[in-house]
Amino acid sequence: MGQGLQNRIVILLPYLWLLILFLAPFGIVLKISFSDTAIAIPPYTPLWDWSDIRGFFAELDFENYTWLLEDDLYWKSYLSSLRIAAISTLITLLIGYPMAYAMAKAPKNIRPTLLMLIILPFWTSFLIRVYAWIGILKNEGYINIALEWLGIIDEPIMMLNTDFAVFVGIVYSYLPFMILPLYATLEKMDGSLIEAAKDLGCTEVSAFWKVTLPLSMPGIIAGCFLVFIPAIGEFVIPDLLGGSDTIMIGKVLWSEFFRNRDWPVASAVAVLLLLILIVPIVLFQHFQQRAEQN
């Protein structure tokens, strides 16, 4: 009896956590997205009025969402965010995979050190690391100085305040999130599978394509999600490194909240972003499970 209760509490804990730290705030954001702006503190019509439940539902309106559909700024920034996040994820994968592979193939005794090196950047503030890239990428930055000194260029190359800088920033910042799950899958892979492939006539390269790569798929998927999802909503990197024509949904969100003080529209932007992300992920997992069962 007591055992059963204990078990139930243990199971309940993560749900409670999710409820308090995710669902409740999300409910609040959702509610705000259905209200109107008002000159007040906070700047929107009250969250609930307990005396009048019927009035509460009557008050809900989709005005903010229709607004998002009408103004093409929002659509464009969603699309642009998806594009930037997708390209950055791909680049991160292309850089991260060989690194993770090399780490997994390294002698056992130096692997912990390599892992440390991957995690090391986290010891410095994210913001400072992004600022540091300004110093590297700007017109008088280290890259341009080096290229000019080598005589490769006469004029500095404009890198800061472009999409390129945003890609650099995202790839740099999120690389560890790609490498860690990839490393985890590659490291626990059974080396005798590669030997078996070679035994059956595969060269090193074809053994990689036919065995290593398909078997590291879970790591690839996990890594891509870990990079793609936060990259879509990224605000700091496009704000500091991007130009005025780099539009990303994180920036739009920020200016709705703080510049326009339009919390309801900002909330609607956030809710829509969540939907855009969650729906494909849920569908993907659904198909993944189905494929595994067959």
């Binding site: 059974d190 005798s192 599978l193 030997e195 078996a196 492939a197 070679k198 035994d199 059956l200 006539g201 595969c202 060269t203 074809s206 036919k210 065995v211 398909p214 078997l215 798929m217």
Partner: protein, 375 residues
């Protein structure tokens, strides 16, 4: 020597398929293979036998190309393998850990090597079908390896290694996870395939009975060395050392000093006050050397009456009796405390057995029955 006996190892003109010379393998300080010399001839079914960790898998991995020799050479079909990568060797290996590809089906696992060779589609399909029915897994063709039992997985691994019908097939404990009946069936299937296709098989097994059944020759290994290479019959009847005698089957060991009787006969003085045992075998060492008589239990007869003249004999008391259904094994204690096992077929029912505990009995055997071992 007659022509229909398959014994290329006795033919000085026979060309070996595998030639291993002075093969040494070290892992750090540890010597895994210690100067191995070995010839394996085409169409042989060659068994490696030895305790765990003696280097059997290492020899196979050397032939497949996953280990490089520290010293010595390995030749296949006369060609030095040193520079040849695993994928261009005419060798397939069945891994001790199976190493099945978890992401593809049983049929695709079996077809893997054939597809790699770009064989025509219908040929691949036919071969996969053939292999599946051989290992009796037709129903499981579309399952993934993790949906199979241990024994089924082992059979997939076997089918995958066989699919390419390589001139040399290395089988690392191919049948260990199968039940006795399926194992025996598969043993005979393997012998059949090997014979029909004219392939050469090298098998590692822990099961001596299996080695005796399938092998044309057996190599008994110990601590990285090959102790004896011979036909199953020779290994069993004429082991070259106490180690080999003890490794295959049950054996009685009687230690003593060997004295030369004449060119063909030897005497073993095994205990004070007991008559020496005669052995119809020349003494290879010096007179009076320490030697051990190895005697299989089934060659020892037990009786209440004194055995007829001409047989070797000892007297003792029955210490214990083991009943295994078809056989009874009597543990007879001799005057010097040594226990000798005598094995009798249970041609009568248990109630009618003649011997019981503490009986004083005679044990006897022919002077040709044992082997005299000097090491």
């Amino acid at each position: 020597m007659s022509h229909n006996v398959f014994a290329p190892w006795d033919d000085p003109n026979a060309v070996p398929l595998v030639e291993i010379r002075g093969l040494l393998k070290r892992f750090g300080d540890f010597v895994a293979l210690d100067h191995i010399d070995l010839n394996v001839y085409p169409r042989e079914f060659f068994a490696l036998l030895g305790p765990s960790g003696c280097g059997k898998t290492t020899i196979m991995r050397m032939l497949a190309g996953f280990e490089t020799p520290t010293a010595g050479t390995v030749k296949l079909e006369g060609q030095d393998l040193a520079e040849i990568p695993p994928y261009s060797r005419n060798v397939n290996m069945m891994f001790q850990s199976y190493a099945l590809f978890p992401h593809i089906s049983v049929a695709d696992n079996i077809a893997f090597g054939l597809k790699q060779d770009k064989r025509p589609k219908d040929e691949i399909a036919a071969r996969v079908e053939e292999m599946l029915s051989l290992v009796q897994l037709g129903k499981f063709a579309h399952r993934k390896p993790h949906q199979l039992s241990g024994g089924q997985r082992q059979r997939v691994a076997l089918a995958r290694a066989l699919a390419k019908k390589p001139p040399l097939l290395l089988l690392d404990e191919p049948l260990g996870a199968l039940d006795k009946k399926l194992r025996q069936e598969t043993q005979f299937e393997l012998m059949d395939i090997q014979e029909k296709l004219g392939l050469t098989f090298m098998i590692v097994t822990h099961d001596q009975e299996e080695a005796m059944t399938v092998a044309s020759r057996i190599a008994v290994m110990n601590e990285g060395k090959i102790v004896q290479v011979a036909t199953p019959n020779t290994i069993y009847e004429h082991p070259n050392s106490v180690y080999v005698a003890g490794f295959l089957g049950e054996v009685n060991l009687i230690a003593g000093k060997a004295h030369r009787l004449d060119d063909h006969h030897t005497e073993l003085h095994w205990a004070e006050g007991e008559p020496p045992l005669r052995i119809d075998h020349p003494l290879e060492g010096t007179d009076g050397v320490d030697a051990t008589l190895a005697l299989r239990p089934e060659k020892v007869s037990i009786s209440h009456e004194e055995p007829q003249a001409g047989l070797c004999r000892v007297q003792g008391t029955i210490n214990d009796i083991a009943y295994t259904g078809n056989l009874s094994i009597y543990f007879v204690k001799l005057s010097n405390g040594v226990i000798i096992k005598a094995q009798e077929a249970n041609s009568r029912r248990l109630e009618h057995r003649n011997y019981t505990w503490e009986d004083t009995v005679w044990l006897s055997w022919r002077p040709t029955a044992g082997s005299l071992l000097l090491q």
